[in-house]
Subunit: 225 residues, 2 copies
Amino acid sequence: MSPSARRTGRPRSAEADRAILVATRAALVELGWAKLTLGDVAARAKVAKTTLYRRWASKCELVVDAVAAVFDEQLEAGDHGSLHADVEAAVIRLGALLERPETGTALMAVLAEAMHDETLRCRVRSAIVDRQKRLVTLGRERARLRGELPCEEDPGTSARNADLIFDAVAGTVLHRLMVSAEPVDPRWARDFTDLLLYGMTGADSGGATAAGPAPDGAQKPAGSV
Amino acid sequence: MSPSARRTGRPRSAEADRAILVATRAALVELGWAKLTLGDVAARAKVAKTTLYRRWASKCELVVDAVAAVFDEQLEAGDHGSLHADVEAAVIRLGALLERPETGTALMAVLAEAMHDETLRCRVRSAIVDRQKRLVTLGRERARLRGELPCEEDPGTSARNADLIFDAVAGTVLHRLMVSAEPVDPRWARDFTDLLLYGMTGADSGGATAAGPAPDGAQKPAGSV
DNA sequence: GAGTTACGCTACGACTCGTAGCGTAAGGGT
DNA sequence: ACCCTTACGCTACGAGTCGTAGCGTAACTC
């Protein structure tokens, strides 16, 4: 239907698409969400304002696509050899992604707007959230094969735990950057990973937090108290 | 200076203040951040538009105050007898607060806008964030007195850990509600608390996650694997 | 070449913004 | 009681943005 309806006529300029998304991110950094106008984006992208309106119905949808493109570039889930290393790498990668001013600002603004727009919320979920969540599932699967996590018979429990982990990782990194306005540096990433794996009690007492060089790296048993 | 400058003349109507903040929250729920206009807020509050502009310079500052008032109402840190119970209570309380549509929407929008406005960011921090963060410090202090957490000599380490815990709690709850759009129900609060205290490894294997009624309640040792 | 679709450009009505000006209301100082 | 000071309500205004319509042209398919 979609391909048959558009197999004829002048095709949409792919370069215009890219220029618009780039301009959207640039304008977002410079002006912020509130002062971002579609007219300004069109001027930066050197396209007519009408072209913009022909493709995106609202400012929200445009920004979602602009941000999703950045997330797609950064989507990967390499195997770092241990659950600890995998989590730490994910934290640093997500932190680097959200530290880019365009990404963080845009994501927050879109999420705020999505509270009132179910369509927009679905769009955000499919374009950004679900693809990131898949990485959590993959990482846990690898950890289970390594014997770092127990097998779970109940798929419901497994899904719930994956959701919980995802909320914890993404939410904490987001909060660190957006609310606390502190950087996701290697030390914090390690501290947070320790917290996730071993909990408040274990991480605080294990001596792997402050001055020590964390000699155990990736193989700290849970009952280390 | 401020009190001396305003000790004479007609005082500002305190009721108008309250009406404006109430109207702001109501309009935020109904219209969302993008479509929220100060003119509309003024009409709802039954005050002149000029009165609004005399007190708040921008939409952001108005919304910050409107949200901060709600946070103030809910600020408490009761002693629930154990670290586990304290954390779980805080999660549920924060969840209930952010589940109110006005609060979550407004907070996200203001945070997004604060990325470009250092003044606004400071305002958010002092009005909302820092007051919540104090609860974390208090809870950890109590846990230390109970012997649930080890003493920390280094104040820098202690502060870093408190910040980390705060980001983890607030960020995860926020993400669960705003991004995943799932409720903070008692089961999730318990699962998340287990994760925070005992880590991924401990919480997953302890059997306190899925169907069981969690018979141990608040006294699960860290080395329960 | 004919048909179809996208693009750039211009112009437009509708709307909101934030401010200025004026007269009136509500307190404090003597 | 009187004046002074400040806040309030109301109206009106220029400035700016919004999203759309109309037209001629460019690009691609059959």
